[in-house]
Symmetry: C2
Subunit: 209 residues, 2 copies
């Protein structure tokens, strides 16, 4: 995407890695407003979709308050990108009639979710940013009623040549993941649709197992 930009465009990196926010969100909001007020044409480029765990609402809220005109371009959210490239449909007539997106990562590295609500028959669960909370996620889903044999997938750097897909069960995944060298960013998918990976995987990242 960056290659499509003007060669002489000023580029400001505000990217986020886990626990390493180059520029705090509030400063990003203000930066967008300030640059626009200087008469510049500003593109805020994000990975994924701005309105699904993307803080886009906060950014355009600032723009609205400052009276700055803008457009929002929707994007391929990580769940869709990883789902497509891992061959794991998020819904499927035979396995899943709904899908829920949750985030597995809190500021203090804990995970605080309404576990019972996530667990529904024929519902796929997607965790964004779940790697650090993986053990808690697997244990809590079992504690709240999912069978330990429930299939789970971890997708590392989905859609890229470094994509790697680990398939296991809620019971076995914490150990299997420990023994791999899976690196963030990752996406976690839990549910029967994960079993389709064995049949439908079509993309082989260089790092594929």
């Amino acid at each position: 995407m960056l290659e499509l930009g003007r060669r002489d465009a000023e580029r400001i990196y505000v990217g986020k890695k886990r626990s390493e926010h180059t520029v705090p969100q509030e400063q990003i909001n203000q930066l967008l407003a300030r640059l626009a007020k200087e008469g510049k044409r500003v593109v805020r480029l994000k990975g994924g979709d701005p309105f699904i765990f993307g803080r886009g609402g906060e950014e355009i809220s600032t723009l609205m308050e400052e009276g700055i005109a803008f457009q929002v371009v929707p994007g391929i959210t990580a769940a869709s990108g990883c789902s497509a490239y891992a061959g794991i449909p998020l819904t499927h007539r035979d396995y899943s009639q709904s899908v829920v997106f949750a985030t597995g990562h809190l500021k203090d590295n804990s995970v605080n979710l309404n576990w019972s609500s996530l667990i529904q028959p024929q519902q796929t669960i997607v965790f964004y940013m779940g790697l650090i909370g993986l053990k808690v996620i697997c244990q809590q889903l079992i504690n709240h009623g999912l069978t330990p044999a429930t299939p789970i997938a971890i997708i590392q750097q989905g859609t890229t040549p470094n994509q790697k897909v680990l398939i296991a069960t809620l019971e076995t995944m914490p150990v299997i993941c420990d023994e791999s060298n899976i690196q963030p960013p990752t996406l976690i998918i839990v549910g029967e649709v994960v079993t389709l990976h064995n049949k439908l995987a079509w993309f082989q990242g260089e790092g594929r197992h």
Copy 2:
């Protein structure tokens, strides 16, 4: 998208309108396989994302069985497109920590969902194809514990010039919708994030109220 295709490409319409499937799903699966086996290069173009209520899993399952090579390109799912163009973030730090996608439309025009599971504090609910079941959806969400004042949005033909956004509450929407002439396709969003529309709406479809 069609304009990007080869001018001499054969085009076969297999589109779906509610209760009016031009070509049944099983025939679409077989058609993809047959045309590929004839040596043709086939694009199956869909609205939205193929793996979120898109039957993509069934289509590539047939291709796998027939030994046909393919790629899956993820897409902007209706929830993301409508969310962006209606100015309604699906997640927001202050309002929503998770989002669930469900389909409101069953073959027999009834709606059969696990209502309790959809209703969670700080969770946005998105219904695909929910217009025909709107009354049932509003009533059941109230019956299962959501306050009648819970905000709900119906987005008609989101992202297009015909986009129209209705904002109301679970209690008032059925009447308000009846009095409008909202047409499918629609997407329904339920939750506190809907209140952000008044502040964040930036796109004015010609049909906007």
